[in-house]
């Protein structure tokens, strides 16, 4: 079997996920055994016309982005949204919460009218996405897991249980016990509860699990001392794109 041709593309993002791929140090040579990287602007000059697997990092936020993603979709067999920005809009979509005018004004002052901008949206809002790798940044173990699934030709499993599960399997002290609030109860697992394991609250960077009860989650945040406004902001930090569902 020929090695699958793999390409990486970046859109509006911090490129942390790209960097995290280069952070595969211990594994990168093994990974390269299984694939041919044909396009990876951050690391190489080459370009290709067709891909078996295209990894997309970043949100869609300009008209040029929209054109590019359609073009990539046409040329790839499998398209994977990599990281929160691509999968759920992520932190970029926070700007969608405020009227676009005031966002531009805050940054550019009176020059704001020179510069058009779109809301920041996940890749799946524009083209069909075959799989999503969540996280800000995407977690290396999860990337490898999904990578292995793809190379083996099996559909990757998308976790649908919350971070609390992984947190409990590790017997972490719950951050609510420490007087903090944490989005673990409704955030999609797969990160091995890395933030709570390091004593920091889960920010919800991996998006919400299916069927998450946002009313109940809001109640939890209120029960633990946040104001309605603070709770809303906390819930929306990475999840503004799905704000309609989230705010109640």
């Amino acid at each position: 079997m020929a090695k699958p041709k793999v390409a990486f593309f970046d859109f509006t993002s911090c490129e942390g996920c790209q960097l995290n791929k280069l952070n595969l140090e211990n594994h990168i040579l093994d990974v390269l055994e299984h694939i041919d990287i044909v396009e990876f602007r951050e690391a190489m000059d080459d370009k290709a016309d067709e891909y078996d697997i295209a990894f997309i990092e970043g949100s869609i936020s300009t008209p040029t982005c929209v054109e590019r993603i359609h073009d990539i979709r046409r040329r790839t067999k499998v398209l994977i949204a990599l990281g929160s920005c691509a999968a759920i809009g992520g932190i970029n979509s926070m700007k969608n919460l405020q009227p676009i005018e005031s966002v531009r004004e805050a940054v550019y002052g009176e020059d704001k009218y020179l510069f058009p901008t779109l809301p920041a949206i996940p890749v799946s809002a524009i083209v069909k996405v075959d799989y999503e790798i969540h996280g800000c940044p995407m977690s290396i173990p999860e990337f490898l897991k999904i990578f292995k699934s793809l190379v083996m030709g099996k559909a990757p499993i998308k976790p649908d249980s919350p971070v609390c599960v992984e947190c409990k399997l590790k017997e972490n002290e719950c951050l609510y016990e420490r007087g903090m609030v944490c989005l673990g109860p409704i955030t999609r697992s797969g990160c091995d509860a890395i933030c709570p394991s390091f004593g920091q609250f889960c920010t919800g960077c991996r998006g919400v699990i299916p069927n998450a009860d946002k009313h109940a989650m809001t109640d939890i945040l209120l029960r633990h001392g946040l104001s309605t406004d603070e709770a809303r902001k906390r819930l929306l930090m990475f999840n503004s794109y799905v704000s309609d569902e989230m705010i109640n």
């Binding site: 859109f11 509006t12 993002s13 911090c14 490129e15 942390g16 996920c17 790209q18 960097l19 995290n20 280069l22 952070n23 140090e25 211990n26 990168i28 040579l29 390269l32 990287i37 990876f40 602007r41 951050e42 690391a43 190489m44 000059d45 080459d46 936020s61 300009t62 040029t64 982005c65 992520g90 932190i91 970029n92 926070m94 700007k95 405020q98 005031s102 966002v103 531009r104 805050a106 940054v107 550019y108 020059d111 020179l114 510069f115 058009p116 901008t117 920041a120 800000c136 940044p137 890395i194 933030c195 394991s197 390091f198 004593g199 920091q200 920010t203 603070e230 902001k233 906390r234 930090m237």
Partner: protein
């Protein structure tokens, strides 16, 4: 000489973020030589508005995955300044260790993965894997070592977890620190020396080009300033970081998509070369030794040598990290809680040397601990005017060469600055007329 030249490098590769190089020369007259930034704007300052001080660093870390630690440190310093949060010596030491780790990892990435292909004449690092396996393995080992510092001390090298206003949510264990120390001593120093030898051997490939400019960086009385210090200009001397706006003077230029900066001249340079020129007397002995072998002298005005300056300070960071760990272990690690009780609310400024140069964050907090206004000035933005000025001097000097060679030299120039265009805080969104 009446030469016509049109160069357009779209989506320059092997840099962080998106940029285009545009050069137009007509009848020997240079009309345009500039780096255009085509990164989509992301509006972080607007997003920060109304956010609590617990969230500011989490959000600003996402400005740039490459310098996420730098943004986080700068953000925490600004918040602590604004809220009057004192931090402990242990916190400061751990942060300096993190800054060292991030500097090592970024510099190694730049040297081996982004610049080395040029020096070896390869389109990317991948073809070098079979031909220069030991070099690649060394690069990976060094990157892993640097990332281990991030993973252990901050939970994760990209978008660190544990650093919060006032301290850390988790303190690494003695065993973990000892293991890092072992790696730094056993692998880090020899690997870095080998790296210096390698660079010395290919240094002939570094273009011979000089243009004296203003160099701005942090400067500290006792140490090679990365985490702490006052702002220092090679032209005008030192000033406290509260004067950062006078040093940066952001302005919007018609030909570029990004705000540019200037201070004493039409442009200035930040980054490893600026740090070298301003602070080389604070480097450790071994770093100065390898600088010598690679031909880096004080008052170096060749921007291509930025990569060499990176290599030099990397060795310093390795040795400094060992010293920090020794101090931490000597003092004994304490399980400190972060100090998160504000003593005031108002404005605060943080500055920090990130691999690409000096970075500033300024926040104003209201009485509920939420941000009213925010401003971030990133190093690449500060360098853009300088890159343009370099190009304007460089192109006429090399216009006799083939278009390919000119293009390559221009690409190498931009890459030497290690521009990190993803930090698109201030980047404007303009469609180009090609």
């Amino acid at each position: 000489m009446s030469k016509n030249l049109d160069i357009m490098v779209k989506h320059l590769t092997r840099v962080e973020g998106h940029g285009n190089i545009v050069v137009n020369m007509k009848d020997g007259v240079l009309e345009k030589a500039q780096l255009d930034i085509v990164e989509a704007p992301r509006y972080f300052e607007a997003m920060l508005k109304g956010r609590s001080f617990h969230e500011a660093a989490i959000i600003t870390s996402r400005i740039c995955g490459i310098c996420s630690l730098g943004h986080q440190m700068t953000s925490l310093k600004a918040t602590e300044d604004a809220l009057g949060l004192e931090i402990s010596t242990q916190t400061e030491l751990l942060r300096k260790l993190l800054v060292n780790g991030a500097t090592i990892q970024s510099n190694i990435l730049h040297i081996y993965f982004l610049v080395a292909p040029d020096l070896f004449g390869a389109p990317s690092v991948f073809p070098l894997i079979p031909t220069h396996t030991d070099v690649i393995l060394r690069a990976l080992r060094m990157k892993r070592m640097a990332n281990d510092i991030g993973d252990v001390v901050s939970g994760r090298a990209v978008h660190p977890i544990t650093p919060v206003p006032g301290g850390f949510t988790k303190i690494p264990s003695v065993g973990e620190l000892k293991e890092i120390r072992r790696q730094l001593v056993e692998d880090g120093i020899p690997d870095m020396k080998a790296t210096a030898e390698l660079l010395a051997s290919v240094a002939g490939g570094i273009p011979d080009f000089t243009r004296e400019t203003e160099y701005i960086s942090l400067k500290h009385a006792d140490e090679y300033a990365l985490y702490d210090g006052e702002i220092y200009s090679s032209d005008t001397g030192g000033t406290p970081d509260k004067n950062y706006l006078e040093m940066t003077n952001e302005f919007i230029v018609s030909h570029s998509t990004s705000k540019h900066c200037k201070h004493n001249r039409s442009s200035y340079m930040v980054g490893a070369l600026a740090r070298w020129n301003n602070n080389n007397d604070r480097l450790c002995y071994n770093a100065l030794q390898v600088a010598d072998t690679m031909g880096l002298m004080p008052h170096c005005y060749n921007p291509y040598m930025n990569t060499i300056a990176q290599a030099v300070e990397t060795l310093h960071c390795i040795e400094d990290s060992i010293a920090i760990i020794d101090t931490l272990l000597e003092r004994g690690l304490k399980n400190e809680k972060p100090n998160q009780d504000p003593t005031r609310y108002g404005k605060g400024i943080g500055s920090n040397e990130v691999p690409r140069g000096i970075l500033y964050h300024e926040y104003e907090y209201d009485r509920t601990g939420n941000i009213v206004t925010a401003n971030c000035i990133i190093p690449t933005g500060q360098n853009l005017a300088n890159i343009d000025d370099d190009m304007k001097k460089l192109v006429p000097e090399i216009m006799d060469q083939s278009k390919e060679d000119i293009t390559l030299k221009l690409e190498m120039l931009v890459r030497a600055y290690d521009p990190c265009i993803s930090c698109s805080v201030h980047l404007l969104n303009v469609e180009f007329v090609e």
